[in-house]
Symmetry: C2
Subunit: 332 residues, 2 copies
């Protein structure tokens, strides 16, 4: 049988209340008693049972994370990096991380949230699918929520985002500065807020430089490598673009694949700026210029925000916007 608080109480010759108060620093205990309790705990090798603790205190010391990773196999680095950042913060606060994946599927997402509701988490960090965009206030349980990467406009809650609009603006402006005037854009699905914002950045850059927005230069893809491949081909064949801004990582990979297979030279035949900065972007030929999102920092910030909200629920709604910088390499 594992040793419990009553064993410690007997061993130390005090009440369980006192043991508990020593453990949790929840009321004054005389130095002498404190010492006796500590020694008893050490002698017995006592570890509090967190489940009993949770039941009574109504705190789980656990937070949930729901990410939308679609691909089965070579999964999306971005959210792993986010998760890593979150975990590093939680760990030092003694919190645990429950990981779940909505697979970018709104139906799955609701199931995952419900699983968490039932599981008593102290807080949730979620990168929502488009399904959450409207009117699901009732979905979440009685815990604070921090939205990351994407913000469902209809929901209240803290958020940590990356300024994709400015990022996209920078990319397109850089292409314009190089003299490009027919700049294609391959963006993700418009029901996802990040896609809309990046598209908006594309438009604003054009407008700032006095270039008319032309629908025939724009393609929307489902954020898969395949769609990037396909749409790059379309854009090159149908509209004589001299540069391409691809607002998503998987689609950037698809574009590279198409260009390579068709022996289209970057940046001579076409200039290229992609999205998200992974290590491989450096050693493709030429190295790929990208808009970099600070994924690890985003995770850290989200975790910190959630923990502070858990400690003090009276805070006003908080938000943090990270900047997305242009990493210039040889592709434009």
């Amino acid at each position: 049988m594992t040793v419990k608080i009553s064993d410690v109480a007997i061993e130390a010759g005090v009440s369980t209340a006192t043991v508990s108060n020593v453990i949790n620093n929840t009321r004054y205990v005389s130095v002498e008693m404190k010492q006796r309790v500590t020694e008893a705990m050490n002698r017995l090798g006592y570890m509090p049972n967190p489940v009993a603790r949770s039941l009574r205190s109504r705190k789980s010391n656990t937070i949930g994370l729901i990410v939308p990773i679609k691909t089965r196999d070579n999964a999306d680095n971005f959210y792993l990096s986010v998760a890593n950042g979150i975990e590093s913060v939680l760990k030092s606060s003694g919190y645990h991380l429950l990981l779940s994946n909505s697979q970018e599927d709104p139906v799955e997402e609701i199931k995952r949230i419900q699983m968490f509701n039932t599981q008593r988490i102290d807080g949730l960090i979620i990168a929502p699918t488009c399904g959450l965009c409207s009117g699901n206030e009732e979905l979440f349980g009685d815990y604070p929520v921090v939205f990351i990467d994407r913000k469902p406009s209809a929901l209240v809650g803290d958020w940590v985002l990356v300024d994709g609009m400015k990022g996209a603006y920078r990319a397109v402006a850089a292409l314009l500065d190089k003299g490009h005037r027919r700049i294609g854009c391959i963006a993700g699905l418009m029901d996802i807020s990040t896609s809309r914002e990046r598209m908006e950045g594309y438009r604003r850059a054009l407008s700032q430089y006095g270039i008319a927005y032309c629908e025939s230069l724009v393609r929307i893809g489902d954020m898969s490598l395949e769609s990037g491949y396909e749409l790059t081909g379309q854009l090159l064949k149908e509209s004589r673009v001299t540069a391409l801004f691809i607002a998503n990582n998987a689609m950037s990979r698809g574009a590279l694949k198409y260009l390579k297979e068709n022996q289209i030279k970057v940046p001579d035949d076409i200039a290229l700026i992609g999205f998200d900065d992974y290590e491989w972007t450096e050693f493709v030929s030429p190295a790929l210029s990208v808009i970099r999102q600070p994924s690890n920092e985003l995770g850290i910030k989200a975790a910190e925000m959630l923990l502070s909200r858990i400690k003090n629920d009276n805070l006003e709604t908080q938000g943090h916007m990270f900047d997305a910088e242009l990493v210039v390499r040889g592709s434009f």
Copy 2:
């Protein structure tokens, strides 16, 4: 106040025992009562409190996962893919996944395990660091453990591995078949079992082809991109290798970076086979040949194994070895 089992019992006019037995199917309940209970639950929107449940039943419906991901930012895809596989299995069984990262640091790893011990998990899946290799039997709590990717020889437990020896053998044999005789090898740290096995595969292939093993063609790195970069340079300068087998993904990236920066042509100047199959391997020039590890499948298998062990602890120790295939592309 949230609705609890006693509310349902009153609403249905039965005992809490009966409600519990309906929920858990744990003893016969007459059809009529069952119906009354079900209806009462629906009317009240009852959800069992999993914490109370865990406390009494001593089951958490949660399993832990500890991965060793070192890099802060662009983290290792392999383990994310594994985690994805695990999560997909757990989800359909109603289990939750607690994620933790040892950062490849044995001290951190022990802390993470202890956090889990204290947290009442029903099982643990762990890719151990070298620190676990010997004599830490006492470390784990009273739950089954499945080792993945690496197996500490001194510990008993189920395991799911990838046959890195055969994988490495295949890579080196393929290079030998092409006529290469001076084949360099860049391997990971020898205190990690996967590194040793891949190295062993390298040696066996050489020996099979009657080529003497030559220490000056071998370098050991710390599995970082930087070490791959550095060691590739060393090997090319110091020993006239015509081919390179790089037994780790991050180091493969480093090698590519070095070769690119120094304008060394693959496969003409040097043939190359790397490790782990990510999407980008296809669109570097030339596309990188690799040994592919079935990461997602590995996660699925590990989760299945753990769940079956949780259900029935009398099983004999189980193990599963996945094959690692050679994906042939243009780099050799």
